[in-house]
């Protein structure tokens, strides 16, 4: 069993109100020096056996069609 990580983040040009709200809250809590926060998703995908080339291709495919919405999001896949 292995774990593959898929990180999905909003494209930089898309507004991220959640991230902004968090950055604002950090400031109100007195943490300075934080210039920006962006919130995305992290998926931990457990796969049977060692992840070979085929598995990674499959997971990239899943990320592309299901886990991320390419209109607004970018993604990145790696083995844990």
């Amino acid at each position: 069993m292995a774990r593959v990580i898929v990180n999905v983040m909003l494209k930089p040009e898309i507004l991220d109100p959640q991230g902004q709200a968090i950055a604002g809250a950090c400031e109100r809590l007195g943490f300075t020096g934080i210039s920006q926060v962006r919130q995305g998703k992290r998926f931990e995908v457990e796969v049977d056996g060692e992840p070979d080339e085929q598995t990674m291709t499959d997971i990239r495919q899943i990320a592309q069609t299901l886990l991320a919405n390419p209109v607004i999001e970018d993604f990145e896949v790696h083995v844990h």
């Binding site: 040009e13 898309i14 507004l15 109100p17 959640q18 299901l66 919405n69 209109v71 607004i72």
Partner: protein, 236 residues
């Protein structure tokens, strides 16, 4: 013959009963379609109702898009022939299916908002808005947590240029939608997505108005006039 309008129930659909009621009040026969059944039962038009299909897990509409019934809806909608209306979650499913451009994201306030909302119809040239006139204002219910319409500027410019924005929020969009967009259509005008709920404004007893009924009578009118070649909107 009475038109038959399919209303799809996905696991987690909520406003399916309401959409069916609106179809009936408009004078058509509602036909219940089940997400797991890849069969449109020969309906003349399809409504994807509001709700939280698949719990809105992952992204609203992302999982519903892959359901068996959508395998039938997508090509029929793309062909320009089958009128398809997506309301709220239905709109999200249409965007996720890439039948409509853009995406619907978390409200800018980060909170669910339920309000009686004024919208302005921007084009009467779709299967679902021909009962209205362009610029007509309606009061209908908006209730959603992820109704913030986003797309890049080029897409937004193209939508506005081609008359593919179906409705705008009057005043500031309560969810932060870009350019106050409340609904859009595809290039043929047969597929329409609306964030607010016309099916909740069809009876004086329960709705803020009966302004929403026109959406459902529009499609009947549209079906009456068929067959017409489906011309892409914006063609001179």
């Amino acid at each position: 013959m009475v038109a038959r309008v399919g209303v799809v129930t996905f696991p987690g659909s909520l406003d399916d009963v309401d959409a069916a009621r609106a179809v009936r009040l408009a004078g058509a026969e509602p036909v219940a379609l089940w997400h797991g059944n890849p069969d449109l039962a020969g309906v003349d038009a399809v409504v994807l109702p509001g709700g939280f299909s698949y719990g809105d897990y992952l992204r609203c509409g992302a999982i519903a898009r892959f359901s068996p019934v959508m395998r039938e809806v997508i090509p029929a909608a793309q062909s320009g022939n089958l009128p398809v209306l997506g309301i709220c979650n239905g709109f999200q499913i249409l965007c996720e299916s890439q039948l409509l451009p853009g995406a619907l994201t978390r409200n800018a306030s980060l909170r669910f908002v339920n309000t009686e909302q004024r919208i302005r119809i921007a084009t009467a040239e779709t299967a679902w808005t021909r009962a209205y006139s362009a610029d007509q204002e309606l009061t209908i219910v908006l209730k959603s947590g992820e109704g913030n319409f986003v797309a890049d500027d080029a897409t937004l410019d193209a939508l506005e240029r081609d008359g593919r924005v179906v409705a705008y929020y009057v005043g500031d969009a309560p969810n932060g939608s870009r350019r106050n967009i409340a609904g859009v259509t595809n290039e043929h005008g047969n597929v329409v997505g609306l964030m607010p709920h016309p099916e909740h404004a069809v009876e004086a007893l329960t709705g803020p108005s009966t302004d929403g009924l026109g959406v459902f009578t529009s499609v009947l009118d549209h079906l009456d006039r068929q067959p017409e070649p489906a011309l892409p909107l914006g063609t001179p």
